[in-house]
């Protein structure tokens, strides 16, 4: 073989690689760089900081992530402890329980929106019939609106995280529990000394992953309150869309998302590191 020429094996290797390189350039490198270029204009950030909606949106996003993600995962941890029991009816129940996650967002979240309508929604009609008082304006107030967004988000994504933590629980060797039984541990002690230490890593990883994923949750907010009233329940995901497509300020819209990067990138790195490290005690 002449020096400087590739062996046949290497040539074939390159040929097989080409489609993936093309896809990676076209679907990852190009859009990300284009996004960064769009978000590189300093004027966009000045515009953002001077918009009072933006600061409120940051607060909303932090509250939404902090409350929804933590409640969701804590409930998932508890529920996975229920679904881990091997009973036929529990298995059937788990199929029903998965449904909110499996069905499409738009009809279900819009149903919530109608149920929560202050004047003719199902919930307030019920409250009126039972108490003869008007129910609260669920979606017309910033904090109760955000609260309802959290409820809908948790309702929608709880099954998924429950499944993940259930898988984690199933991976704990049974003889650890038997050993704890012989050692004299109560149910709560078994959770404290066996279950939680075994799930701790998974739980933290899930929290990181869920935070990153929930930051991009557009549906729960947009379909329930639309970011309103008066932009009081916007999060970064919906605000970016509002700028880009509602107000035709594409660059500002992209900048809204870029703002989250300094927080998100370290989270991502942290998570990938944890996943690589595996189960360290």
């Amino acid at each position: 073989m002449a020096p400087g020429r590739l062996s046949q094996e290497a040539t074939w290797g390159l040929i097989f690689l080409v489609p993936y390189i093309v896809l990676f350039l076209g679907l990852v490198i190009y859009p990300v760089s284009y996004g960064l270029i769009l978000g590189a204009n300093p004027k966009s950030y000045v515009r953002l900081w001077t918009d009072p909606v933006f600061l409120r949106t940051i607060v909303n996003t932090v509250v939404f992530l902090g409350v929804a993600v933590n409640i969701k995962l804590f409930l998932a941890l508890l529920l996975s402890g229920f679904f881990v029991h091997e009973r036929r009816w529990i298995r059937w129940l788990s199929v029903v329980f998965i449904l909110p996650w499996a069905i499409p967002s738009i009809p279900t979240i819009l149903s919530f929106r109608w149920m929560l309508n202050a004047e003719w929604g199902m919930l307030n009609s019920l409250i009126f019939r039972l108490t003869l008082e008007d129910g609260p304006n669920w979606l017309l107030d910033r904090w109760s609106g955000l609260g309802m967004i959290c409820v809908v988000h948790i309702w929608k994504y709880l099954p998924f995280w429950t499944l993940i933590l259930l898988a984690g629980r199933l991976a704990i060797p049974k003889d650890l529990y038997e050993s704890a039984d012989v050692d004299g541990a109560s149910g709560l002690q078994k959770f404290r000394y066996v279950t939680f230490p075994s799930l701790r890593n998974l739980y933290i990883t899930c929290t990181l992953l869920s935070t990153i994923m929930s930051l991009g949750d557009f549906n729960s907010i947009y379909l329930l309150t639309g970011g309103g009233p008066a932009d009081s329940t916007q999060t970064l995901a919906t605000l970016g869309i509002r700028y880009a497509f509602g107000m035709s300020e594409i660059e500002v819209g992209v900048s809204t998302v870029v703002v989250a990067l300094p927080v998100m990138l370290p989270l991502l790195v942290l998570m990938l590191r944890r996943m690589k490290k595996g189960e360290q005690p």
Binding site: D181, V182, E279, P281
Partner: protein, 357 residues
């Protein structure tokens, strides 16, 4: 320490009965090994004694107390699991002291007992490590340490050595036995390995398909197996078994095989003329003779240094002989072999039971 008694114990999973009424009486301080092939119910029985498995019928007593309804933690037992079941996030020290901590023992008491157990098992250096930093043998020792610290009435071992390599298994076997001689705690040990059973047990319980086949000391089982199953299960290499018909003629007695070979017996052998029997002899009870023995053709020779294993064909069956004297055997060679007549075992072919002399 306490005696353990298992009376007419049964285990059912729905309609399926896996243990069919077992009786075992274990006196205080004895080391009993439950042995049998996989699926014989030995682990299930142990787990019933431990309280990890419900008892479907019969009674289990620890000391004088019936424990059928007593939860595991109140039975005053300690168990060593096959996969060690060490708490992965606790150090060796915490693992060993865990049960005492749950029982709200004082810190000094826990520290002292853990220290003592660690000394007995040479674990002192490892007390601050986590289980994943230990080798298999060390983990096994921690699991035993955890049991010792409790100072329980009964130790239960569920195949504790099966995850170790062969050399370590032999070493741990000796250690467990030495430990028992030191502590004298009643111990029930489950294994499928008959050599473990033979070497460690005061008494062995041979189980098969959910029943007890025989209970006895290792040598009792070896010398007078109650039936074909026990005969075949205990001993390595396995006993040689050849089918035939018992023949008597005057004072003479022999077993005639289908291939026309007459296998010699003592004149006082049990059984009736014409009875279908199985003729058994252990590989080490064969003697090479000059002539007049049973003619066998050597198929394989395995010298191990101490002994020579000879596999040969006799009357259509493959038999094994173990010889300790150095002698040159060659494959293909024909050999005259003679079983020691007073060590021949005779079993009824239909029931498999031993025919008593």
């Amino acid at each position: 320490m306490a005696s353990v008694s298992v009376e007419a114990v049964r285990k059912r999973y729905g309609a399926l009965e896996v243990i069919h009424g077992i009786d075992i009486a274990i006196p205080d301080g004895e080391f009993v090994v439950l042995v049998g092939p996989s699926g014989c119910g030995k682990s299930t029985l142990l787990r019933m004694i431990a309280g990890l498995e419900e008892i479907s019928g019969g009674t289990v007593r620890i000391g004088q107390r019936v424990v059928n309804q007593v939860p595991s933690k109140d039975r005053d037992i300690a168990m060593v699991f096959q996969n060690y079941a060490l708490y992965p996030h606790m150090t060796v020290r915490e693992n060993m002291g865990f049960s005492l901590r749950l029982r709200k023992a004082e810190t000094e008491v826990i520290a002292e007992r853990v220290q003592r157990a660690a000394q007995i098992l040479s674990l002192t250096e490892l007390l601050d490590r986590h289980p994943k930093q230990l080798s298999g043998g060390q983990r096994q020792r921690v699991a035993m340490g955890r049991a010792i610290v409790r100072n329980p009435q009964v130790f239960l071992f569920d195949e504790p050595l099966s995850n170790l390599d062969a050399k370590l298994r032999v070493q741990m076997r000796t250690e467990i036995k030495a430990l028992h001689q030191q502590l004298k705690t009643t111990s029930i040990y489950v294994t499928h390995d008959q050599i473990e059973a033979m070497t460690m047990a005061d008494r062995i319980v041979v189980m098969h398909d959910g029943i007890v086949e025989q209970i006895g000391t290792p040598l009792e089982l070896y010398d007078t197996p109650a039936n074909l199953f026990v005969a075949g299960f205990i001993g390595s290499p396995a006993i040689n078994l050849i089918r035939g018909i018992l023949r008597r003629d005057g004072g003479r007695c022999w077993v005639a095989t289908e291939a026309g070979v007459d296998l010699p017996l003592n004149g006082d052998a049990a059984g009736q003329d014409g009875q279908a029997v199985v003729y058994g002899f252990r590989p080490e009870h064969l003697t090479p003779v000059e002539n007049s023995g049973l003619l066998s053709r050597i198929e394989v020779v395995e010298p191990t240094g101490a002994n020579t294993f000879v596999y040969a064909e006799l009357s259509g069956a493959q038999i094994c002989g173990v010889f300790s004297e150095r002698r040159s055997f060659a494959a293909g060679e024909t050999l005259h072999l003679m079983p020691q007549l007073d060590r021949v075992h005779l079993f009824d072919a239909a029931s498999g039971r031993r025919l008593a002399a």
